[in-house]
């Protein structure tokens, strides 16, 4: 069974993304509402995919991507940026840091599911 981590400070966004991912396949979803929470969840289980927002309190999505990509244990986990179109420049920076893809909020369900499918080789 695959597992995913959703990092977003909006409750509603998290539950929506969770719904879409759980709808696709037998995927075990964990949530983190801040970058710090994500840092705490990472060691607990091997994640197959991470979906991350850019603008968050404490540390932002870019800093989290940098952490994931520079840590041997996590660097192979695909990271998908899910953020609104205002963060255009930041999304580019995230891709340069090694993100797998980005999805712009608001998104179509097929769009998000398509990217996740690709990242997980489903």
């Amino acid at each position: 069974m695959k597992s995913a981590l959703i990092v977003d400070d909006s409750n509603t966004a998290r539950s929506l993304i969770r719904f879409l991912i759980e709808d696709m396949d037998d995927i075990n979803v964990s949530e983190a509402s801040t970058g710090f929470e994500a840092l705490k969840s990472l060691p607990h289980q091997p994640f197959d995919i991470i979906l991350v927002d850019i603008n968050m309190p404490d540390i932002n999505g870019l800093e989290l991507i940098h952490f994931v990509k520079s840590t041997d244990r996590y660097k192979n986990i695909p990271v998908i940026i899910v953020s609104t179109e205002s963060s255009e420049e930041d999304k580019k920076r995230g891709m340069a840091l090694g993100a797998f893809a980005y999805v712009t909020k608001p998104f179509k369900s097929e769009e998000l599911q398509g990217v996740v499918k690709k990242a997980l080789n489903l």
């Binding site: 400070d9 909006s10 409750n11 509603t12 966004a13 539950s15 929506l16 719904f19 879409l20 709808d23 970058g35 710090f36 840092l39 705490k40 060691p43 927002d53 850019i54 603008n55 968050m56 309190p57 404490d58 540390i59 932002n60 870019l62 800093e63 989290l64 991507i65 940098h66 952490f67 520079s70 840590t71 041997d72 244990r73 953020s83 609104t84 205002s86 420049e89 930041d90 920076r93 340069a96 840091l97 909020k105 608001p106 369900s109």
Partner: protein
């Protein structure tokens, strides 16, 4: 895939609340963190409304977000005008959320969207005209590794450049924490750093740290010298990465500036208030030990008389007593800050607000040297701002009305702070219209806060303004309506162990009198006995004590009262209230609590004397227990409960209203 609309409304309301508080913070003074969280709030709101397909809503958020993005990235100027403009749009968002929650169709917002766009354009061209686009500071000369620079978001990069441009010193602060508890560690480091500068970025890292831990590299901008930053950052490693190739300038000036910084750093020490609390705790335990020593000395003297040895013990215990009191006073003094700190922040907000409402009002401030506990000082600011705003909006009349009443054209608001015994009194007086008693009563009846036919005296009517749900749109102006409600003001003051009292007269003005304890750390209390149990009542709550002859207790409207000095005082039996065993007695003791006309007599079995205690919270398990404010140790390892007088009074007066 429908997430319920309720979720949307709940989150949207949270977001608007956080946006409003960031705006209020910004109104007091510019703070990049507050501006960024305001941006984030609107950003999240946009994402949220987009996910729900609320088109107009997300369009409005989108344009507002672009405006805020320009602001936080320094593309347009931040000033009072922008704040006012954003406030009005947050209000609009609030209305939209209301519409959604009332199942109404979200109205057309294209006008608002256009007005934000044109405002943004105007501000942008103004910024370009005035500064010809300020030169960006180059990041190339900094000794920051590219891997860090590449991780910065656009906003963080902008803040780094701004810090450099403003001549701040940039530091790299490196810390390592255990993985399981790092959030506490980094948060406390952050709050220390923020007191002397700006945390620009926080990068977590797993490289070069032991297993089970996590490292952080933070970029930090500050005017403070490295010694000061090191002291503030405590165990974290601090490295100065000031631009290497600085503009050559007169060398001696730099040296002088450095000397000054070093000197001031040597003279003052910043201490976390928690550390002071720990010391205070130890001292209070020593006070208990001292009590035991004195008791032993007295018992020995009782059995053996004053031998040279017991006399020595007596002298020593007296010295111990005095020196401990001195130590306690000294520590408490460290926690004190002068009111000038609060008043200067208030004055800023208030002057701006006066300008906004376009009234002529003098703000007079007295007692700036009065000192109060730092913790209380921080917590009293919001309630004070709310009260002053109310005075400005509703208290002081417009010029024409004042002249017609034969009053001075200028309104006056007077804010005073002065010590009184163990308390600090703050009075806030305006010479405005006074509270409209009839209107308050009418609204209270309309909202069913009091029964239709019940008679209620003037004092009680005035106190109705503290009930939640009394204010209506009509009585809340656009500006003060953004703040907290009067019920919250009262609750906040109550939670600090204080009271608030109101005097008001039609066309003459209103005076709020807030009584606060000087400190929350150690409080003076009265030890009482009820049904063979001991309890503690904070002395700040106590007006007087008296002996009660049970035959003098009368019953009016189903509740017990007693007459003292020609005044009827309602009574509350502690044993009955706390469901303890009630034994009739020949004599009780009464404790008068509360201020003004809102007073209550507590009936207890015995008064055992005054004692100073450190109050500790009861912990998670008992957090919902009402009527108890905490617990304290009073010697011989006995722990007693501290009664929460404010809640008891509230309930007592509620019972009365229910009758």
């Amino acid at each position: 895939m429908k997430t319920s609309k309720k979720d949307f409304i709940a989150e949207a309301e949270d977001i608007i609340e956080s946006a409003t508080s960031s705006l209020l913070e910004l109104q007091a003074s510019f703070n990049p963190d507050a501006l960024n969280s305001l941006f984030r709030a609107i950003h999240t709101m946009k994402g949220l409304s987009g996910l729900f397909g609320f088109k107009g809503f997300s369009d409005l958020c989108h344009t507002l977000e672009s405006l805020l993005d320009d602001l936080r990235l320094g593309r347009i100027e931040f000033n009072d005008e922008t704040i006012g403009f954003i406030f009005s749009n947050i209000d609009l968002l609030k209305n939209l959320v209301d519409q959604v929650s009332q199942d109404k169709e979200v109205g057309d917002v294209s006008d608002a969207v256009r007005s934000i766009e044109s405002f943004r354009d105007a501000m942008k061209s103004r910024a370009q005209a005035s500064a010809a686009a300020p030169q960006d500071a180059s990041l190339k000369n900094l000794s920051i590794s590219p891997s860090i620079l590449n991780t910065l978001s656009e906003y963080e990069e902008h803040r780094l450049k701004t810090n450099i441009k403003e001549g701040k010193i940039v530091y790299m602060v490196k810390s390592v924490f255990e993985l399981t508890t790092f959030d506490k560690g980094i948060e406390s480091l952050n709050s220390n750093l923020k007191s002397i500068g700006e945390v620009i970025a926080t990068l977590p890292s797993s490289q070069g740290v032991p297993d089970g831990s996590i490292g952080f590299t933070q970029l930090f901008g500050s005017s403070s010298g490295i010694e000061n930053v090191k002291e503030t950052a405590q165990s974290a490693e601090v490295e100065m990465i000031l631009p290497l190739k600085t503009v050559p300038g007169p060398a001696d000036v730099t040296v002088k500036a450095k000397e000054v910084t070093l000197k001031s750093a040597a003279n003052t020490v910043r201490v976390d208030i928690e550390k002071l609390d720990r010391i205070l705790n130890t001292v209070s335990e020593l006070v208990l030990a001292k009590g035991a020593v004195i008791r032993i000395q007295q018992e020995l003297a009782g059995s053996y008389g004053y031998t040279p040895l017991t006399l020595d013990l007596y002298k020593i215990s007296q010295i111990l007593d005095r020196k401990l009191a001195e130590l306690q006073d000294n520590i408490l003094e460290l926690r004190m800050v002068p009111f000038s700190q609060i008043f200067s922040r208030l004055a800023q907000v208030v002057r701006r607000h006066i300008k906004e409402v376009n009234k002529e009002i003098d703000l007079k401030i007295f007692g700036e040297d009065t000192e109060i506990d730092k913790v209380i000082a921080e917590d009293i600011i919001d309630p004070l701002i709310h009260l002053i705003r109310n005075s400005i909006d509703h208290g002081i009349e417009v010029k024409e009305r004042r002249l017609a009443l034969g009053k001075k054209e200028h309104g006056t608001i007077t804010l005073k702070a002065f010590p009184k015994g163990n308390n600090v009194i703050i009075t806030l007086q305006d010479d405005g219209a006074g509270l409209d008693i009839d209107k308050i009563l009418h609204k209270a009846r309309e909202n069913k806060l009091i029964p239709e036919n019940q008679d209620i005296d003037r004092r009680e009517i005035i106190n109705l303004i503290f009930l939640p749900g009394l204010s209506t749109k009509e009585s809340v102006s656009e500006v003060s309506g953004r703040g907290i409600g009067m019920n919250i003001v009262k609750e906040k003051i109550g939670s600090l162990g204080g009271f608030v009292d109101i005097e008001t007269e039609k066309d003459a003005g209103t005076t709020f009198t807030i009584t606060l304890p000087i400190t929350l750390a150690i409080i003076k209390t009265i030890l009482i006995k009820v049904a063979n149990e001991h309890f503690i009542i904070p002395l700040t709550s106590v007006a007087e004590t008296f002996i009660v002859d049970p035959s003098k207790i009368q019953t009016i409207e189903g509740r017990e009262v007693i007459e003292i000095r020609n005044k009827i005082l309602p009574l509350l039996r502690i044993d009955r209230t706390l469901l303890l065993e009630e034994k009739p007695r020949d004599e009780y003791f009464g404790i008068v609590v509360g201020t003004g006309d809102r007073q209550l007599g507590l009936l207890v079995d015995d008064l055992l004397g005054q004692t100073e205690v450190v109050v500790k919270p009861l912990g998670e398990f008992f957090k919902n227990t009402t009527g108890v404010a905490g617990a304290a140790e009073i010697g011989k390892h006995e722990v007693v409960l501290v009664l929460d007088i404010e809640t008891m009074m509230k309930e007592a007066f509620l019972i009365k209203n229910d009758l």
